[in-house]
Subunit: 346 residues, 4 copies
Amino acid sequence: MVHVGIVGASGYTGVELARLLAGHPEVRLTVATSRQYAGKALAEVFPNLRKRVDILCENLSVEELVHRADFFFTAVPHKTAMDIVPRLLASGKKVVDLSADYRLHDPAVYETWYQEHTSPELLDEAAYGLPELYRDRIATARLTANPGCYPTSVILALAPLLRKGLIDPATLIIDSKSGTSGAGRAANVGTLFCEVSDGFKPYKVGGTHRHIPEIEQELSVAAGEPITVTFTPHLLPISRGILSTIYASLTSEGKTADLQALYEQTYDNEPFVRVLPAGVPPATQHVRGSNCCDLSLQKDIRTGRVIVMSAIDNIVKGASGQAVQNMNLMNGYPETLGLMGAPFFP
Amino acid sequence: MVHVGIVGASGYTGVELARLLAGHPEVRLTVATSRQYAGKALAEVFPNLRKRVDILCENLSVEELVHRADFFFTAVPHKTAMDIVPRLLASGKKVVDLSADYRLHDPAVYETWYQEHTSPELLDEAAYGLPELYRDRIATARLTANPGCYPTSVILALAPLLRKGLIDPATLIIDSKSGTSGAGRAANVGTLFCEVSDGFKPYKVGGTHRHIPEIEQELSVAAGEPITVTFTPHLLPISRGILSTIYASLTSEGKTADLQALYEQTYDNEPFVRVLPAGVPPATQHVRGSNCCDLSLQKDIRTGRVIVMSAIDNIVKGASGQAVQNMNLMNGYPETLGLMGAPFFP
Amino acid sequence: MVHVGIVGASGYTGVELARLLAGHPEVRLTVATSRQYAGKALAEVFPNLRKRVDILCENLSVEELVHRADFFFTAVPHKTAMDIVPRLLASGKKVVDLSADYRLHDPAVYETWYQEHTSPELLDEAAYGLPELYRDRIATARLTANPGCYPTSVILALAPLLRKGLIDPATLIIDSKSGTSGAGRAANVGTLFCEVSDGFKPYKVGGTHRHIPEIEQELSVAAGEPITVTFTPHLLPISRGILSTIYASLTSEGKTADLQALYEQTYDNEPFVRVLPAGVPPATQHVRGSNCCDLSLQKDIRTGRVIVMSAIDNIVKGASGQAVQNMNLMNGYPETLGLMGAPFFP
Amino acid sequence: MVHVGIVGASGYTGVELARLLAGHPEVRLTVATSRQYAGKALAEVFPNLRKRVDILCENLSVEELVHRADFFFTAVPHKTAMDIVPRLLASGKKVVDLSADYRLHDPAVYETWYQEHTSPELLDEAAYGLPELYRDRIATARLTANPGCYPTSVILALAPLLRKGLIDPATLIIDSKSGTSGAGRAANVGTLFCEVSDGFKPYKVGGTHRHIPEIEQELSVAAGEPITVTFTPHLLPISRGILSTIYASLTSEGKTADLQALYEQTYDNEPFVRVLPAGVPPATQHVRGSNCCDLSLQKDIRTGRVIVMSAIDNIVKGASGQAVQNMNLMNGYPETLGLMGAPFFP
């Protein structure tokens, strides 16, 4: 039984971590921080947690925090994470960081897309927390950088094709659609119900979304060469879910390959990746509330392209669920512990 | 480990039963029937179940069924249930019936609202499956009649007031609002997305909904006198959730009573009933996906009335979750087994 | 062609006024104020207005305003309206005020529910802007107090019954459900998409909503005696629409009366009130985007009550559409001018 | 004042035609057919039309129809349209056909994607009803083939780039997302509220959707060479709206061209096409209920591509509104008559 803390418990990833940890047999949530709600029960902030999660929000310094738990989830904005994570590690704690601060290996890339990095020495050490790709590395890490939601949906979808050279990386186009929980819980006119409901729109078009360098980093690893992608995110009028529709031209080898078989071989033993039967596209409503990533792919013989589609719940496999999966690995627990709940539908 | 069957697995209560049973440590789902989808994997009908529920839909006679499981959930329409349940019992099986066929004790009332009853002798025997009221009775039953979704939300909300005589039963008005999953999964113009979405309306107004006799039966038991209520259901543009807003005039005793304390005393030890702090109304989004029933009540001193509000997930506490709760009792398992998952929000 | 100004154009009632006025043949929108968006085109704030409404938001004093238009809609919060309206009137302008400041005739009532009233002398003069009840009065008014959205839905529903003494006013219970646009466009966690979507909840329960005195004032006029009601508002996961379900006990005369005929006689010549055929309940999705109020009523013979149901679009008949209807009357235009668009469905 | 008939009035395009025609000053709707609802008022089928559209649904032969109106909208499925349209034309009527039957000029292409064509001689004569491209042709046509919803959103978005050779047509990838009204009003499990709501998914992936040949026909005309595209439709949990996100590699000329200026020049005089300011993406909620098509485009300098985005209301500009626009042209009315209503938001 490990004592676990959530730093930044008052956002949507915080409440989802609390929900998942409440059903986890090997952890005890011993501390949850929130500056805004300090002194309030977390279940008062998120009434879904009543009678299930009994913890107060606190406003604590790192010095106080380290006495309260042995394993930490940092669910705070980038930059704030950089302030906290090194000190938690220095106190001998293990950390899954849900921010972007330790996802990019190259500090120069980080500084191009974000700002100065104050603990670049940790970038090499941090494991990239996509267990399906880096399981062994994560198992021995002190610090795991939990992947972004969009990158999770994209990397799992493309890794098999890129590793085998079956698509031309220069042709990659990623059209992603995310539920509104991805925008967080801050008061904001743009994410009011009346602005989002019964509507749909792209945003950060033209190569400007900060998940791009993360996607490119990992796709480049899979391909063994540097990759630049076109990536367009969109805002869906749903709370949870990301669906990515990805296009690439098949290489001559790709045109003849049995891609369905390749994906089934790659992922059949993965508990959280489900390769759908040929011709069945994924749907966000079929992964809702679960740590699953559903994948489907289809050749377009008229144009020589392949369309790869993936669906995840952005706050489970795209954030808090994957974070728990990483914690399981880092603590030597079975990877699926507390995470095998089926998606709920409808 | 009990072998369990779902008769009628292809509706929304069926898929939810399968989801809940997949996470239950003491049962094994060994048979699932569906005439329409016989031969298909249940996970093909409901892709959320892939890699979590591995069972084929079958079209079986009762004679075949009884060799395949020891405990049955019958999730078929009323009248069909009457055909099946007596034969399952006759083969020594235990049954939780999710239809209306065994909820009413008085066959005459059943026949007024439905049609002829072909096994009236079972009406007395069947336990009314609201564990918070009939826990002991259910524990020894062969047959439990799982309550209707609206009645569950209403009875839990009113029982404490009626038992103590704190409201005038003749003034009871129940205004209930249900998510669309309550209308089932049949193809139907009236429940198409475009008809329901971004809209709201009442239906079966004026004392015609078939849940009325069930509500009146149980409220009459609580009050110790016959009660007739006004009940208006409405259709919400959400999938899951019922919220009931209930009005009654306080008796002179009721006007001075500490109702908040009464509800807290009544329900504090109940794992699935959550009495909210004074002034906090319930919300369907805070019970979603869980077996919880959230209750709140508020006096209106200007008019001498009390407003009692309850929220449940209509396919969990209002159907499949309560059915599993009843199964737990009937099998001697801890009542909460497989059901303690917190609601998910957002 | 009258020159018209909108004071407070950046809320949802403002954009709807601009949309309706753009299609009105006898008005020209000459000024629109917004402190927050001063200098921006209104169509930049609300992109639906592009190529249809060509006006800049301005931050103007009342002294400047009066030179820019002859008729004003004040769509600002209560209290702010009191600061502006008397000065507009003093400059010889006509005003439809969409705030609550001039709806209540009795300053003491206003001060109980709001705060001190700084122009109580106007309360008697202001017409209550429900044209179906006060058409003649409005036609000669300088100042019309545009009704609240909930009161509009309630008063039209109940006036015929109360005037004829067919229900017992002491038994009135009003259960209302509103779309989220009623909460306005301010940044607010409680009305974020993820908080409202796929959910439903009551708020301001127990006689505390500020529309209560307005409802009671007008129902009392209809009944000819003081009325106190129980009123519970709820928040619907839709943008537009209010549905009120209203309960009352029938008097002995009411029990035998032909209520359907009464409503048809009362409203058949009203262009914006539609009495639905017996047994057909109203639905918000059937009035969406229009100035219609749909009414339906049903006796519950089991309990001796009547259930009256009404549906409006809260930002049209409940706000901006009714404001234009009032403007038409005040300017001697045909009452329906610019307002006869059918609701859009789906 | 022309007498107009709707053949097939009981679908979503039918009700929208009726709504738009009710507000059109130069037409009178004299006949509306529906086999299913014959004898019922159209306003009984679609209660939004009450007190606005007063017409009965009838089940009429073509022989009867031609005596009832001079201009017809055929809003029936493909193949059924082929049975009716030639006979309407033979009786001297003008027709806007909303089916796919007369959109493709090449009967062989039609027969590849649909079935045998029984009036191929009309294919050359039929005008392709996209007024922004074929205004003059439509004005003199007896028969106009109203474009598909997806093609409308795509062709307006791409024509300027293709005509100038600024993109490489071989690289075109079209990722489109449609509201559920596009699936029609037939009872169908797949479009039930509970299946669509709070979800998102692709369908007909890999070059199989029947709008592909129509898109390719018109893009090929614009480019002056045959074009084959990758097209993926998706189902949005909204009623109305299509958003298309379109990707192509810029030619060297395209990389340096001022695309924003090109689009503004092309469309600034178009009343229904709105080119958004640079950096502002379109949103379906900002065209809802209107005949507008909003366009935005953005270069991705990292990859040398352009992303073009378009938003329409699929049942207005994508169907019934465009049909009225075509009727206006065919009858010599101002093109915008009855269509200038601003989109409603929220």
